[in-house]
Amino acid sequence: MNKLKLDRITHTYSGKKILDNLSLEILEGEIVCLIGESGTGKTTLLRIIAGLERQEGGSVLLDNEIISNQSSHLETHKRNIGLVLQERALFPHLNVLENIIFGMDGTKEEKINRCDELLSLFKILKYKNSFPHSLSGGEQQRVALARALAPNPKIILMDEPFNGLDRALKFSLRIDTKKILKQNNTTALIVSHDFNDGLTCADKLAIVSEGRITQIGKPKDVVLNPLNKDIKKQFICETGDMLYWKSVIESETT
């Protein structure tokens, strides 16, 4: 069943068409990674799905219901969509517990239990009463992920979630994120310029270029059969070694 459907989304920014009839479907529990260079409208697309911006054309459907088109627009706070940003955007005046229960409903006990559960999953339970500024970048990103997951969103959107972290931390956080998303059967759309994010986390890779999706498929299919030279070039630039990835994927397949 489709969880999210984007139907011919069009949008211009400062006179430039950044989304041009972009369509995408994401199934329930699926993790899709949207890969594209800077300025290709990836972040704008996330903002449109979250309802923070309104597209000029096309429709956004969540659970097969239109949440935004030319005639109707469901406000952000009514959509139950989780959002994680590269900047983390933790509320600096609230501690970790307060940050995580910010968007949750239920009794205080239920909220605290859910918070403990998520913090344990992300291995940061000991920071429950700490304030964001005392945490490292990786810990802050784990809190941001936990906060977005806490209200059990219909879908979670992540904008360059692993950017700004060192290599080792990126690797472990990618693995943990995928594990937790799968455990919770959470549908996710990750936006990144880094192929590695998609290769490690996603069920599907979608390549976006000039405002539309140029190729979509399982990571191994995209890597083994890049549709054009640009994708191949971008892949080599990001991962450094195409042959290595090819061998990893091939060995996995066999």
Partner: protein, 536 residues
Amino acid sequence: MKSIIEKTLEKLPILFFTFISLIFLTPIILILTSLFQGYSDSWQHLFQTVLAEYLTNTTILVAGVSIGVFVLGVSSAWIVTTCDFKGKKIFKWALILPLAIPPYIMAYAFTGLFDSGGTMNNVVNSIFNIDENYNFFPSVRNLGGAITIFSFTLYPYVYLIAQTAFTNQSRDVFDIARTLGLSKKSTFYKLALPLARPSIIAGLMIVAMETISDFGAVEHFAIPTFTSGIFRTWFGMNDIVTAKQLAAVLFIFFLSFLLIEKYSRKKIQFNLSLTTNRELVPIKLYGLKSLLATIFCSIPILIGFLIPITQLLYWTISFNLEYFDLNFVYSAINTISLALISGIFCVSVSIIVNYLLRMKENRPLSLINKAISSGYGIPGVVLALGVLDLFSLINIFTDTMLIGSVFGLILIYSIKFYALPNSSIESGFRKINKSVDDAALSLGSTKLNLLKRIHLPMLKNSSLIALLLISIEVIKELPATLILRPFNFDTLSVSAYMFASDERMVEAAAPSIAIVIVSLIPILLLIKILDRNKNE
């Protein structure tokens, strides 16, 4: 081996700090020592009669004004920062204009407007053909009136601070909050306000201090407060020791207030650098919403600036043009000279102090700098009593008569307003990367050359802002000037007070309007510089 000159030069910073702290802190210490002198019968009289009233009135006044400035300052700052509506660009700076009108001048204008036979009552009576003795508007010479005039003259302190706080808040944080279920309206109460809380509290503290320190407005409305009580005890009961003891109590109260505020801010301190600098995108308002925003932002400017200015101008032009004679010119020159001299002195001291602290971090010296910056919270009348004591001591030991000299005024302005240039210079120095110093020193520059050729040119803007900030305050200052001015030495504020205390409101209008105009010059310059800095 180091030569004697080198050794002396090394000790220069300590000597400088000692000298500055001596002249800045001795008046305060002398006031505090009055608590150990004998207590006269006046205390019993005060306890039995007016002390409770002083405390009650002061508390009600501070509470009322805090609510008033909070509503006016925070809401206008929020609207101007987050909404796009007709006239927004003008409102952004026009909302600061009431800062040019000191509360006592607003009080003079308000009595002229709303007293029996005042302009507003006359207008209503003539429109509705009512008996000319009928008072449509209630009297303003009461606590409610005082709360109103303080709120409308002091809200810009909260407005400025809140506006900066809201502008620095990140769009990302609000976006995330929206996805977590917060509606646009509730982001203000649940996120923007708590995030800006430390800044808003700091603004409210400044307003509370200004309110408690005020003498001119409460005296004009005949409201007995703690500060006016010190004057009455001194001049009415002729008991300077009890007046000093009252001042010492007020100072201790202030100090505890400051420490509690500092402690509470420390507890809720959070690092805003966590949030990114992606500014909030203002929401475009149309139709009725845009009109309501325009009306809401017009009210503080109308009541806090335009109406009182119109009243003062009407009095001045209709009855009082002859006031602009040679005496007026002298008063204006005195006022501007005092503002400039005190300003230049304070800016120079703060540059030297902050430069020395930058060159060699030293905790005791840094604490001294904080201590000499604490004068802002002390009422002018308290400091004036301390300065008089200091001058008496100097007179005893050196036979130099400083009482009744301009030095007293410059010293008191410096003690009271040093915090303003210091904070501006401090942040100016912070903006200069320390690697710049290292680069200059490695290129063979001496430390003095570093200050002259690198720091001073880079501090030009901060110094100018510091000078303007202190000038605005000196021009408006009244109680300390009243006590310490030399014989026959009038400033604009003293002239206005003299006329107003004799209920010669029409005559008081001319110096009052002059104060507003003279204050407006640095305010407008300040707005321009701050705007330019922001755009850069």
